[in-house]
Subunit: 499 residues, 2 copies
């Protein structure tokens, strides 16, 4: 039923119908129909509204049966009570791909809403409908100029996002776009009436535009299938998952939000361990992890050198590396001897972490430092840590910009192919410094260098990124030791079960 | 030796001498002498420099013995090799309070530096000197217009900071100032030659200007004393401690930074448990914790209501509360019935967490919501969570500002005395939104409402703030069950031992 062709039609619709397209835009909100038009959707768009003849200049139809051609994706934006009839119209017209935007079904827990949910489930099953939702934002595909929300990025890229939350679909894609991460396909699927995360995942596995998959999950219906699919895909396309609702309060909130069963923490711990999926802990964190996968090649290890200035910060960097699961080997005596040729020992730390203002006095010293450190056998990757407040005082920003330009355009020539990320921070109560920080952040991101605000998030990202590569490497080289069929963390339950 | 009067003189010096005050300011850096002058120090300032007659218009003296009056605090900014002679000059002139800014002693681990360290320790002990440092920034006291770094806040306030790191002294006070937290006294004491954290702590215990004490520790010489002092002070003045170097790499970094022994994680866990000190995990986190103590009164419990909009965010809030150790009781059926009178159940979550855009449509609804929720017996505190991106679209910022002004000026009239914090977030790649966020943040902070960027940090802060109050309450009410003399986590070791 959920074939590749069906989901192709959903993600690349040549024809769209919006059931409940209003004649006028409500105050301050373009509505779904308005968002689709504003974004510049290039296919044929049909407003469905029996009370008007035209919507925003387009001929309106009273129902789907009256529309002169098949509809690849029907979007429903009518009150919950009107959804069953609209679904029957889908069945009658033979249009089986439906996104139900409307909320007010099983997630409210109210008796009449649960009954309505039962009704639409029955209609969908009998009619063979493929339903995204209800209670969700549906599809965002920048290549097709398709969206249901205001002003997402028009750029497309190699990352897909499968989100049970509509808010997160908007927030995550917005935040990620700011980091230069753009999307192949995004789907917000809410209460998962018929189509669930695993259906989208299987589709994205074969999608040539998608190289990295991100997911926000509240519940999942078929845990075994999720494990199988993720294990398969994760070998070639990293799957990054933010799983919510793993606490008592979170479980209750998940039920209120998408009517889902969240599942227990220990089951999901096992899932991550067995599947090799990369675990994310917040919207921001998921984008930070995706950023590393977007720009960095594979790595052979977890040994990091931190090069920065500020002694307390260097100590914090060392603690952060250890806590994250990275190691921070001390530089060899010979390496330290070479560093002392241009860094005085007094007032500077040169053993790794490096805390040394002299390095940042000119770009030649940065080059020298990176060149020496990257030739060490016991270092796999680099964090350059910039304390903007201190360098800002030199000349109000020009020197920092010069350093950032050097790191963006030249530093990689001296890294022997080892990955580099940059972190910055400001503590001063002066808006000029974070403004400068955001400017150099863009500059570095545009050249493909991941940037994080503070060392701690950088270490947490790098540790998971390195662990993923180890997992994939070990899975491929030692298949015998890991059975092809891992035990399933939990059997699928009839409806809205936990994993 | 370290009497209250001595430390009073150090923190409130009527006379200062800077040994090694240069005739000219080095490029781009005013130096310690320049910082003291620029900040407007009001006492009598003596440059000590045998090679010049005047420094920045002030008569220079060749040595301390030549200065015509006693010096409350001598600040040394000479090369490490010149420090022993300068210390002997302190002894000869009877000036016993010394801040050694200079680095290059036991922290480098180099043989000649360790020997130099041994020398200055001997001079200090024999001469009865009270030494802050070496390798540190010394004293910042805004009331006395005393600082050694560039441009700190001129405002004073009730928070003290005892910091082993000079960088953190600058970074933490700068960051905290941005949150409206100002300082009574700050001391950066580096390698702790004679004066250690516990000496400052004892002084601050009796300091009428200090109500909250923050600390950054790498090592401590006398663990038993620290425990005793913190336990005693913490009853009336919360002691918030950021302890660094608890990992293998961190321990090594601490040795390189201030020549300290960091001590083991399990010992420090016991220390926090027994002392009731509030644990902080980063510079930013310590400021966030201090912010809660600065503005919020005591609390009777840990039960929180989160009122915001965005379903995924509401789920994240629930998980964050549980993970932090707060509880999030569901609202009663009667309370939910009352909420439904102005919040439709479809598309909104009203059980706690609350995810409901209608609340933020006008301030009357916010009032209604807070009034209802704060009258619930099972709620102790509130987090109002604002997603700026969504409200921004209404009118580009005016509505958000109206909400923030209402929360700042009126919301507390409807809280039945229960604490409120506000969180905000933006994910959009549009600089206008964070600018607006920072504007409303100042507005709320100025009216005494703690503000955090994101719910997760807010929950972590509130949990520790509530735990502190429970600890103090239980210590006072059940003294019999907690022995006055707790076992010491570790015996003091001869020199630079761990706790």
């Amino acid at each position: 039923m959920k074939t590749r062709q069906d989901l192709d039609a959903i993600f690349h619709p040549k024809t769209l119908a919006v059931v409940g397209a209003p004649q006028e835009r409500p105050l301050g909100w373009p509505g779904i129909f308005g968002c689709i038009r504003d974004f510049g959707y290039a296919g044929r768009l049909y407003p469905i509204n029996p009370r008007v003849t035209h919507v925003e200049g387009l001929k309106a139809y009273p129902d789907l049966v009256s529309v002169p051609e098949p509809i690849d994706l029907v979007i429903m934006s009518v009150p919950a009570a009107a959804v069953p009839a609209a679904l029957l119209d889908c069945v009658a017209s033979g249009n089986k791909n439906v996104h139900i935007f409307t909320a007010g079904f099983n997630e409210t827990g109210e008796k009449q809403d649960l009954e309505l949910h039962r009704q639409i489930l029955e209609i969908a099953r009998k009619g063979g409908l493929r339903v995204i939702g209800p209670n969700c934002m549906g599809v965002y595909n920048p290549k097709e100029r398709l969206t249901t929300w205001v002003n997402p990025s028009k750029k497309d890229g190699p990352v897909a996002f499968v989100s049970q939350s509509g808010g997160h679909a908007q927030d995550f894609t917005g935040f990620a776009s700011g980091l230069g991460i753009h999307f192949s396909k995004v789907v917000s699927y809410g209460n998962a009436l018929t189509l669930d995360s695993t259906d989208f995942l299987e589709y994205l596995a074969g999608d040539p535009d998608t190289k990295i998959i991100t997911m926000y999950l509240e519940g999942v219906k078929d845990g075994r299938k999720l494990l199988d699919v993720v294990r398969r895909i994760n070998k070639t396309k990293p799957v990054i998952i933010l799983k919510a609702g793993l606490t008592e309060a979170g479980t209750r909130a998940v039920a209120s939000h998408t009517g889902s069963m969240a599942g227990g923490e220990h089951i999901w711990n096992a899932f991550f361990k067995m599947s090799g999926a990369v675990r994310a802990y917040s919207v921001e964190d998921m984008a930070h992890v995706a950023l590393a996968f977007r720009h960095l090649n594979t790595t052979g290890g977890t040994r990091v050198a931190v090069i920065g200035h500020g002694g307390g910060i260097a100590v914090a960097a060392a603690d952060a590396c250890s806590n994250a699961g990275l190691t921070m080997p001390p530089f060899s005596a010979e390496m330290q001897r070479q560093l002392r040729s241009f860094i005085p020992s007094s007032g500077n730390m040169i053993r790794n972490p490096v805390d040394a203002i002299p390095i940042f006095v000119d770009t030649g010293n940065i080059r020298h430092m990176l060149d020496l450190a990257s030739s060490q056998q016991n270092i796999d990757m680099f964090i350059v840590s910039l304390s903007l407040d201190w360098i800002f005082d030199v000349d109000g920003g020009a020197h920092i910009t010069r350093i950032a330009e050097y790191l963006a355009n030249h530093a990689r020539d001296y890294l022997h192919g080892k990955p580099l990320v940059v972190t910055w921070r400001t503590y001063r109560d002066d808006p000029r410094v974070p403004e400068l920080g955001m400017k150099i952040e863009k500059l570095l991101l545009n050249s493909g260098i991941p940037v994080y605000r503070g060392i701690e998030p950088a270490t947490r990202v790098l540790a998971r990124w390195a662990r993923y590569h180890r997992f994939v490497r070990e899975r491929h080289s030692t298949q015998a030791s890991i059975p092809e069929e891992l035990p399933c963390p939990a059997s699928p339950q009839p409806a809205h079960s936990g994993l």
